[in-house]
Amino acid sequence: MKTFFELMLATLREIFDENAYQRFLFRTSSVPSVESYGRFVQERDAAMAKRPRCC
């Protein structure tokens, strides 16, 4: 049961981009802040804007 909830949380954190932000911080050697999140959102938006959304 514990593993199930851990997995659910990991999936949700991935779908909601929290893990993507952590990876961004690691990749850019930044710390969580308004500025770093702003840069992350910009980068994410640029990538997301071209992704199709299904019917």
Binding site: E14, D45, A49, C54
Partner: protein, 712 residues
């Protein structure tokens, strides 16, 4: 398959005996044999349960059956399809190789290419492919009864949709995550690439128009619904500020807070609808709502509104995944009875929800619940760049489509739990059943589906609406069915809240599809126009942004307006058109998949993709023929134009004639283009199979994975 299993077991047994002769080893071996026997027995039970449920669904007549038969039939069918058919494709056709490094490993950059946990990729992929299509299509197709839709959703998914998604995903993984258009160009011809592009743009324009129409029809004259959906805009803005400045990056908690606020907005909507002075501020007719949505779409595409769009996207995902999960739980908990007959009289093509006979229109209408061309864009888009191991493409590609298909089954159940008379009164346009509620009630009752004005008024009152007549588009009918299931699970309470929760759920993620789709379409147009004049291709150049946004919004806005003005309800012409475009794109994807299978030297397995391709071509070409040339004005665009021309001259006659001819042109051009792709593909297959051309694939070179120990 069983023979291979037995051989492997025998080999393992021999090796074991050679190595060890101890009593302990013999016990282990006996245990393994037992466990294999248990596995075989379990699969026999699953297969028999599935067959019995399907037989009950298909053969039971005369009295209503429980929805659980559909659920069990579906779950067993997916389980058997996944365990045996997808395994066969993985082993024999695609020969998945766990030792082959995927693009996520070879090209890992922490941004697009990332090795990701398979369940997480599954979640991503499912969230991307699950749109409003599998909810709306099956609800509309329920006019034929629950049987045709259910059978097609199951067979179409297991043998068509899941196969398409799985094969295209693997093909893209082996080609560094290339898109469908690129693969079509590389594997078939340049024309195929262009056709894929034209089909995608056409689908997007018509899809966006039709889903906008669904929202308009759900919200017109509904202050409760309009208030709730309107409130999602300030809620999203609040979430944006919270995410950016208060708790940067804490999306999950912001989404939970946003969800709670949306729930509060649903309750607030009830107060609004019951307070006449406020209610009139949120009561809009169809054309006004259409203009508001068109304006919103343009703003969402042209203005950099990350503050609004990103939080709304998260909120939509959260609500979508959560609601689908509780719907499945609700159906299993309540086990509702299906009120709709297995097959209705409308299979002859005289249906009031949309005109057209069972073949081909049931298949065109269900579309995404069974097979969707649009999925091939996702399978060759983000997902292949996240796959950690080739063997995971089976679970992600085949498995996620099976899950989407289950959503389609839930939509059929929701629609078929309504009384047929109620379902028809809600879903039929005034032009089909009579201009007034009284006339509609008489027409529908005469068809053998009794319904009264009092029943409809009581139902409308129970859900907090003025009326439920002529609410075409599928969303209100689905919301009613869903609200009934949820309400019954709580002892019949809070029907109005559940109804508006369902409307909010549908409208929220339709609007997310609308704004994201408009922006994606804008980027695609900019890419294409950049080949004609370079500055137009610059995504940050504002004149280009405005022009391409206007083109995209103008495109779907035009069709939306056409739908709003259509006396038959709009859905009658737009949804089949969308279905045809969607299934033609699936045909292009299956052409690519078949060509790649042949080039891999696996021509003996060509039937795996060729059979669904032939079926799709038969369905789409027949549907296109009917939509263009059928003499019934309710079905054929040309016959409708002739009827209009012969009738009284009205102010908008010219526009309506043009609309019919435009629909003819779109359908005809797409069919011709897809015909060219099919012919070019067939020539390639013939050339390779006859030996005139060498079977060569354009896969990325094999690189051994660095994570072999994980595989072992």
């Amino acid at each position: 398959m069983l023979l291979n299993g037995a051989m492997l077991a025998g080999l393992a047994c021999t090796i074991s005996l050679l190595k060890h002769h101890s009593q302990l080893e013999t016990d282990i071996e006996r245990g393994n044999r037992m466990s294999k026997l248990v596995r075989i027995l379990v699969w026999i039970v699953v297969a028999v349960a599935g067959a019995l449920s399907l037989a009950t669904v298909a053969l039971h007549r005369g009295e209503a059956i429980s929805a659980m038969w559909l659920v069990v039939a579906a779950l067993c069918t997916y389980a058997v399809g996944y365990r045996f058919y997808s395994k066969f494709i993985a082993a024999k056709v695609l020969t998945l190789d766990a030792m082959r490094a995927t693009p996520a490993e070879r090209l890992e950059n922490g941004r697009d290419f990332i090795r990701t946990n398979k369940w997480v990729v599954f979640g991503h992929h499912f969230a991307a492919i699950a749109g409003p299509g599998p909810l709306v299509g099956p609800v509309l197709a329920a006019q034929f009864g629950y049987l045709p839709g259910t059978l097609w959703i199951l067979a179409g998914a297991v043998f068509g949709g899941c196969v398409q998604d799985f094969v295209i995903l693997l093909c893209s993984v082996r080609r560094d995550g290339k898109s469908l258009g690129q693969m079509a160009r590389d594997e078939i011809s340049k024309t195929a690439g262009i056709v894929a592009f034209v089909a995608v743009i056409s689908i997007m324009v018509i899809l966006l128009a039709v889903v906008a129409l669904v929202v308009v029809n759900a919200l017109k004259d509904s202050p409760w619904g309009t208030f709730t959906i309107g409130m999602t805009i300030p809620i999203a803005l609040l979430m944006g500020v919270y995410l950016r400045y208060v708790r940067p990056g804490k999306v999950l908690e912001a989404s939970i807070a946003g969800f709670l606020l949306v729930m509060a907005a649903i309750f607030g909507g009830q107060w609004v609808s019951q307070t006449p002075n406020v209610a009139h501020l949120f009561t809009f007719a169809g054309p006004t709502l259409a203009l508001l949505i068109i304006t919103y779409g343009f703003a969402a595409s042209a203005v950099p509104v990350w503050l609004l769009l990103a939080p709304r996207d998260y909120l939509s995902t959260f609500v979508k995944l959560g609601t689908i999960a509780i719907l499945v739980i609700g159906v299993i908990a309540v086990r509702p009875t299906l009120q709709m007959p297995a097959i209705t009289r409308f299979i002859d093509g005289s249906g009031p929800v949309f005109a057209g006979s069972l073949f081909p229109f049931a298949f065109i209408t269900i579309a995404c619940g069974a097979i969707s061309g649009f999925h091939s864009l996702i399978s060759s888009g983000t997902t292949p760049k996240l796959i950690a191991r080739e063997t995971q493409t089976r679970m992600v590609g085949y498995g996620a489509m099976a899950a989407e298909s289950l959503v389609g089954i839930m939509a059929i159940i929701a629609a078929c739990t309504l009384q047929p008379g109620t379902y028809l009164a809600v879903n039929s346009g005034a032009g089909m059943v009579g201009q007034t509620p009284q006339a509609a009630v008489v027409t529908i009752t005469d068809w053998g589906f009794p319904v009264t004005s009092d029943q409809m008024d009581t139902l409308a009152k129970n859900v907090g609406e003025k009326t439920l007549f002529f609410r075409t588009g599928g969303a209100p009918a689905f919301a009613l069915g869903m609200a009934k299931i949820f309400s019954d699970s709580l002892g019949g309470k809070a029907m109005a809240i559940w109804y508006h929760f369902a409307i909010m759920f549908e409208a929220l993620f339709i609007l997310t599809v609308l704004d994201a789709g408009t922006r994606v379409g804008r980027f695609m147009l900019q890419d294409a126009l950049g080949h004609i004049w370079k500055p137009l291709g610059r995504t940050s150049w504002y004149p280009s942004i405005l022009v391409t946004s206007a083109l995209m919004v103008g495109g779907w806005g035009y069709f939306l307006w056409q739908g709003i003005r259509d006396p038959l309800g709009g859905i009658n012409s737009l949804w089949p058109l969308f279905g045809i475009c969607n299934q033609l794109l699936a045909a292009v994807a299956l052409c690519v998949a078949t060509t790649i299978i042949v080039r891999m030297g696996k021509a003996r397995y060509i039937w795996v993709t060729l059979v669904p391709l032939c079926w799709l071509l038969a369905v789409t070409f027949t549907a296109s023929w009917h939509k263009i040339f059928n003499p019934n004005p309710l079905i054929g665009f040309l016959a409708h134009a002739r009827q209009l021309a012969a009738g009284p001259v009205t102010a908008d006659l010219g526009h309506r004639l043009f609309n019919d001819r435009l629909d003819v042109a779109i359908t005809g051009i797409l069919v011709m283009l897809v015909t060219v792709v099919v012919i070019e593909s067939a020539l390639q297959w013939a050339s390779v199979i006859s030996g005139r051309q060498q079977a060569v694939t354009r896969e990325a070179p094999f690189v051994h994975t660095r994570y072999a120990e994980e595989t072992a």
